[in-house]
């Protein structure tokens, strides 16, 4: 144990930087997008680096990564990086190699794109592949939606960039709350208490303490060592299930998908915005979730038709008004759309500025 290595942190990044980046670190002057998926950054020295961006499924295997490494060895002197949206970026110094790399990517099934005013890769969570509280799968819906929106990945034909994200329950590991279009898995029913299992499996005080809204209390019948749930206070977060496996929050029939729209993190023109509820419920319909795919496409198309130049989804909706958004997208307005949580008042209309 004496020579056990701990707390060394990650390797320092400079050992992975290509020489052209080391030489021009902090000296980049401008960039150009030569074609969808191909960036050129130009340094004050005149040096140029080319980045070819490829879509990836995020959930990958070592076989896939090794294939990607073969491409980077052949075309990029062994240098590559990944983006904050799980795209691969091949880093080249020789512009002449771009065409060959693109051909090789096409053979491997790696799409090139995700730059500029495109729909780039969907950031997402684990879903049924690895998570214990999801309402929906993640990778499968992402695959189905990206298959449908594929034409927008490798092109620049939208008014501005559209960032789509998916989280498989309201805990939102994927932090989808500031996305142009957010796909969110929702539970719609409180956990079902299995009193017999709970007695053997769970610590009652920690189970009660795990509830963020205080909806869990000891069973009123003291002879039953279990808990009861105040259904009206439960918001279906699944935190109690994390502590106590006898409180499953899943419902294979009632669980489903909500869509939120209009969020952004960039400060460009308008301040960052939260995504807001557009569609409260769509059925959880594997393996290809056709209702979700169709609803996402419809919002995207209506945005593309209605937005001004360079307008993000949230800027478009803010300009036309939410009442017009629901009308244009033909989405029924329901009680679920009206906020009644902590800062609900901020969302009420306190002016005459609305449209019929």
């Amino acid at each position: 144990m004496a020579d056990r290595i701990t707390d060394i942190g990650p390797p320092k990044f400079d050992k992975f930087l290509p020489p052209i980046i080391k030489d021009n670190y902090g000296k980049w002057k401008y960039h150009d997008i030569l074609e969808p998926g191909v960036l050129m950054h130009v340094s004050e020295s005149g040096a140029k680096i080319f980045s070819v961006r490829g879509g990836s499924g995020r959930l990958v295997t070592t076989d896939f990564i090794k294939d990607v490494c073969d491409l980077a060895d052949k075309f990029c002197d062994g240098y590559l990086r990944f983006t904050s949206r799980n795209n691969i970026e091949f880093l080249l110094t020789d512009q002449g190699k771009i065409a060959g790399l693109k051909d090789a990517c096409a053979k491997m099934g790696i799409p090139i794109g995700g730059t500029g005013h495109s729909v780039t890769s969907i950031v997402h969570t684990q879903g049924w592949v690895h998570c214990h509280t999801p309402a929906i799968d993640a990778s499968g819906i992402v695959k189905a939606v990206m298959d449908d929106l594929f034409e927008y990945f490798g092109s620049h034909k939208l008014p501005a960039q559209v960032r789509i994200a998916l989280a498989c329950c309201l805990n939102m590991c994927g932090a989808v709350h500031c996305s142009d279009i957010a796909i969110l898995g929702i539970h719609r029913t409180p956990p079902k208490v299995d009193h017999e299992r709970l007695r053997h499996l769970c610590e009652i005080p920690t189970t009660i303490a795990s509830c963020p809204t205080g909806a869990i209390r000891p069973h009123p019948d003291k002879s039953i060592k279990s808990v009861v749930i105040n259904d009206d206070r439960c918001m279906y977060c699944g935190n109690c299930y994390t502590m106590c496996p006898a409180l499953p929050v899943f419902d294979s029939v009632k669980g489903g998908v909500a869509l939120l729209v209009g969020g952004k993190v960039s400060n460009s023109k308008s301040a960052p915005m939260f995504s807001k509820l557009a569609v409260p419920y769509l059925p959880n319909n594997p393996p290809r979730w056709p209702e979700v795919v169709a609803a996402v496409r419809k919002i995207l198309i209506k945005y593309a038709e209605g937005a001004n130049k360079f307008e993000r989804v949230g800027e478009w909706v803010t300009r036309i008004g939410w009442e017009k958004f629901f009308e244009v997208c033909e989405i029924p307005f329901t009680f679920q759309h009206i906020d009644e949580y902590r800062w609900a008042y901020d969302t009420y209309r306190t002016s005459m500025h609305f449209k019929f």
Partner: protein
């Protein structure tokens, strides 16, 4: 191999198929084969089959490993244990193929060969191994210079945008700040001792490519204080259509400088007259729109640093929050002592006052901005708010009267 008729339907279509990819390793990895089996079951049942982890980890660490078990181990023994290993990514997610192959070899030997590149927080996620493989996997990683990231109520793995390595808009060295901060807080990352998670994300400019404002307790966003640099000849080239707008990443062929740039400026601090672009820089709010539109004509200023914002998190519990400004400008030069000290002060204030599972932003809302500023030693400045209060419920402390008597604006 399990039959997977539902998953097989995800093998068609133009987007890369994770099912096809998983099937490649299913032949040599029982875990991958059984993962496909259990996933098919979830697609049929429409529920998850994973259980939360319990306590597993590597010796001496309280984080970096997420325990995971299946609820039907008899049917899918290959994923009875399916723990996650969070491997701390290098800043900016740069790799050499040699480094990536090294990581793949370790994971082929000690795990399922399945991974996320990368997870939401930024780590490379090794997805699925057994308890007995955790310590050998960790030893193999550290022997090659890698370490685990954070999990649980700990400092989480910091992450950053590509920054000065390959972006002309980076107002400070995001990759270095991310690396140094990760190194400075190794103890806090690996031994959870906070009320809840604490995330740091470093974006080089207000475009915020790592979404720092939405998902970091401490959001560091680059900014400049002086003037946007203008190349008037390049502005003319944009106006004439010789250079395409937004680096060419758009359907629009030619920029209308007035309609597309100056009229869309949120502070209306720009004008374009007689073929000349003018910017009233004192009234610029650094939104980046004009620079985004004309990257060859406009550059960020030269007096650069970062704004610190605090408090964002996803909706649990008080509803989603975005980070708000606490320090409008910090020069952000190595070794970043001022930044490190402030984070330490915040951790201390939060640890003393925070309730279990209360994020820093929620604590600030509960106790108030004044309590926070006084607790960590920051002055009140107008950049931290959008508007002053509209109510008359403001109160005076003894320190305020003392400051007033001493002719000072606030207590410090």
């Amino acid at each position: 191999m399990h039959k997977t008729p539902l998953l097989d339907q995800l093998e068609s279509g133009p987007w890369p198929s994770f099912i096809t990819d998983l099937k490649r390793v299913a032949g040599r990895k029982k875990a991958a084969a059984d993962l496909l089996g259990v996933l098919e079951r979830s697609y049929k049942d429409k529920i998850t089959h994973w259980k939360h982890g319990g306590i597993v980890g590597v010796l001496g660490y309280g984080s970096g490993i997420i325990g995971r078990y299946i609820d039907i181990p008899d049917e899918f023994p290959g994923v009875e244990h399916f723990h996650t290993v969070r491997v701390n990514q290098p800043s900016g997610w740069f790799y050499t193929t040699a480094a990536l192959r090294e990581l793949c070899d370790i994971w082929d030997k000690h795990g399922s060969s399945i991974l996320n590149v990368h997870g939401s927080t930024g780590d490379m996620i090794f997805l699925g191994t057994t308890t007995d493989q955790l310590e050998p996997c960790f030893a193999a990683l550290t022997a090659k210079g890698w370490d685990l990231g954070g999990s649980g109520s700990a400092m989480r793995t910091p992450s950053c945008c590509v920054g000065q390595a390959r972006c002309e808009w980076a107002c400070y060295d995001t990759m270095d700040l991310c690396y140094q901060t990760t190194q400075n807080f190794q103890f806090e990352m690996h031994r959870p001792s906070f009320p809840y998670k604490f995330k740091v994300k470093c974006s080089g400019c207000p475009n915020d490519c790592v979404a720092a404002i939405a998902r970091a307790d401490m959001s560091v966003i680059g900014v400049w204080k002086d003037d946007i640099r203008i190349d008037q000849a390049a502005v003319k080239a944009y106006a004439g259509g010789e250079i395409k707008p937004a680096g060419g990443g758009t359907i629009y062929k030619k920029l209308d400088i007035k309609a597309d740039v100056t009229d869309l400026c949120p502070t209306i601090c720009m004008s374009y007259e007689g073929g000349k672009l003018s910017i009233d820089n004192k009234n610029c709010n650094h939104c980046m729109h004009c620079i985004n539109m004309m990257p060859q004509a406009l550059r960020i200023g030269t007096e650069t640093g970062a704004t610190l914002l605090l408090g964002s998190h996803a909706p649990i519990l008080e509803g989603a929050q975005m980070s708000w400004v606490i320090v409008p400008f910090m020069a952000m030069e190595a070794p970043y002592d001022e930044f490190t000290e402030l984070i330490g002060n915040i951790h201390e204030w939060w640890s003393e006052n925070g309730k279990n599972r209360e994020r820093t932003g929620e604590l600030m809302l509960r106790l108030g901005m004044r309590a926070f500023f006084e607790g960590v030693g920051l002055p009140p400045v107008p950049q931290t708010i959008r508007t002053p209060r509209a109510n008359p419920f403001f109160f005076w402390h003894a320190e305020d009267f003392e400051a007033e008597a001493a002719g000072r604006k606030y207590i410090k």
